[in-house]
């Protein structure tokens, strides 16, 4: 286990060292986050009303509702996208086959490549929330940070499986992943990100109820804005963890088979 942790740390340190060579990137991302937060603030000022707040799960402002939905989508995208983006970069830079001839196992290579993108996404969320709280009065006073962290972690675990499936698709078909874009598109529409699912037609509400993103977002809003503790978010957490328990092992099996197929076909390094 110590050896595995050390290997995971190596991947994190590698990506951190690379990121440090782009010295101004963090500054520009922080500025981009500021513009993003300002955009949501002014859109919310334009549309917010007491009637609208009555339809929102925590009766919060539309600014808080929509911003949490937006940054959660960003996090979801990181969870799903990190694996195949890391894999594509490794393939295109020629490092993939050199990674595969080391003594480190494939699951560790895969997990290690996603750690930094996850950490960077978490940091980006922090920057968004910090701008929102400092400049635009985002209500952070009652947040239950432990519950927030638990929901984020469960979200990562739950959707990493989709990310690994996405990487498997990339291995086999080399470009794009319609399933990933379909899922992200569906979650944007029927996940309760920018509007409550209650305004959707019945059949889309059914889709939303089957979509774990809906549960994750509810839990996130409850913990961050409503200050809900574990007793209030345990159900969505359980759904996310069940999703992870099924999808993670399944995705590793699929990835192993996809890799075997590319090794059989000799297409590992093909673009």
């Amino acid at each position: 286990m110590t050896g595995t942790l050390r290997e995971l740390w190596l991947f994190f340190r590698r990506d951190l060292s690379i990121a440090r060579t782009y010295r101004t990137a963090f500054l520009f991302e922080a500025i981009e986050a500021l513009f993003g937060v300002a955009l949501f603030y002014y859109v919310a000022r334009f549309v917010d009303s007491p009637q609208l707040r009555q339809t929102l799960p925590q009766r919060e402002s539309y600014f808080a509702f929509s911003l949490i939905g937006f940054i959660f989508l960003d996090y979801l995208n990181a969870a799903i996208d990190s694996f195949d983006r890391s894999l594509m970069e490794a393939r295109d830079s020629g490092t993939l086959e050199h990674l595969l001839v080391t003594q480190t196992s494939l699951p560790v290579i895969l997990a290690g490549s996603a750690i930094y993108p996850f950490a960077a996404s978490t940091l980006r969320i922090g920057v968004y929330i910090a701008w929102a709280a400092v400049l635009f009065g985002f209500p952070l006073g009652g947040a239950n940070w432990l519950a927030v962290a638990s929901v984020l972690l469960a979200t990562l675990l739950a959707f990493s499986g989709l990310g690994i499936l996405s990487a498997s698709y990339l291995l086999l078909f080399k470009r794009g992943n319609p399933a990933k874009w379909f899922f992200l598109g569906l979650s944007s529409l029927a996940g309760g990100m920018l509007f409550p699912v209650s305004i959707l037609p019945d059949w889309l509400q059914l889709v939303a109820r089957l979509n774990p993103v809906t549960y994750a977002l509810d839990a996130m809003r409850a913990a961050l804005v409503g200050g809900a503790g574990f007793h209030a978010v345990w159900q969505p957490l359980l759904v996310l963890l069940l999703f992870a328990a099924v999808l993670l092992p399944l995705s590793m099996i699929v990835f192993g088979r996809a890799l075997r197929r590319t090794k059989t076909n000799g297409t590992l390094m093909h673009r």
């Binding site: 020629g94 003594q103 196992s105």
Partner: protein, 306 residues
Amino acid sequence: MNRIRFGTRVVPISCAFCSSSRLSSGRRHAISSQVPDAAISVEALQKSFPPARSGWRTLLQPFEKPTVFALGGITFEVAPCEAVALLGANGAGKSTLLRILATLILPTNGRARIAGYDAVRDPRAVRRHLGYHAGSDAGFYARLTCRENLRFFAGLNQISGAAAAQRITQLAEQFHLGESLDRQVRTLSSGTLQRLSLARALLHQPRVLLLDEPTRSLDAIGAAEFRRFLKTEILRRGETTLLFASHALSEIELLADRIAVIDAGRLLACGSLAELKQVTGAASLEDAFLRLTGRSHSVAAEGAPE
């Protein structure tokens, strides 16, 4: 009957291949037994792309690309600390063979072993004993320094921090990388990159080194320096078994104890330069290669090595 040394044994070789016509499979060398302590052992190795289908999947065959046979049942062994060159035209199967040994491609049939470990059944053990270097500039993190790259790959090969630092310093000295060690890889010349790549392949002190056209991306001077470097720093030390693919005949003559001539996925001959010349009646390696591959009447053929 001529004899060519194969592994640590002497095996018979049909002198019929002295003729200019291409060898039929029935006239290839018959090598059956294994050398117990062979560093590399390849037995009846076959590879086809994409794999031939069986059962109901044959129904899909008409809709798939035609199967290409890259290796057609190759058998040979390399003794510890021996240097063997794979010589063949483009598409002969050299890289496929090396990539199977490096566990990057799965064979269709047959066996490939490194240090006694099967490349399919025990790939992790195989990787513990091999270093792999594909002769391109790619394969490093361009914005990291040489030291950071080497430290990363050392860690993935289970070399801990202090030992890795010591090994990197040792290799940097040996491979003349000292001044480049703290420079970003993107600033390095092709020659330095090749040496860095070789240093990476040797980080974990593998018993077997696989090189796929190691001087492919170097100019004439860089290639000559790299060959000299391989000769003095790797081969003369007598600790590493070397199997390398190359089109450069001068490189093969300088480095190889034995030369395996491959054509269309078949092993046509394997022996020392002198033996190949003797059995083909050729005056040079180029001539021997052309005779073995049946191209001696069309020397200008596009597949002939340089």
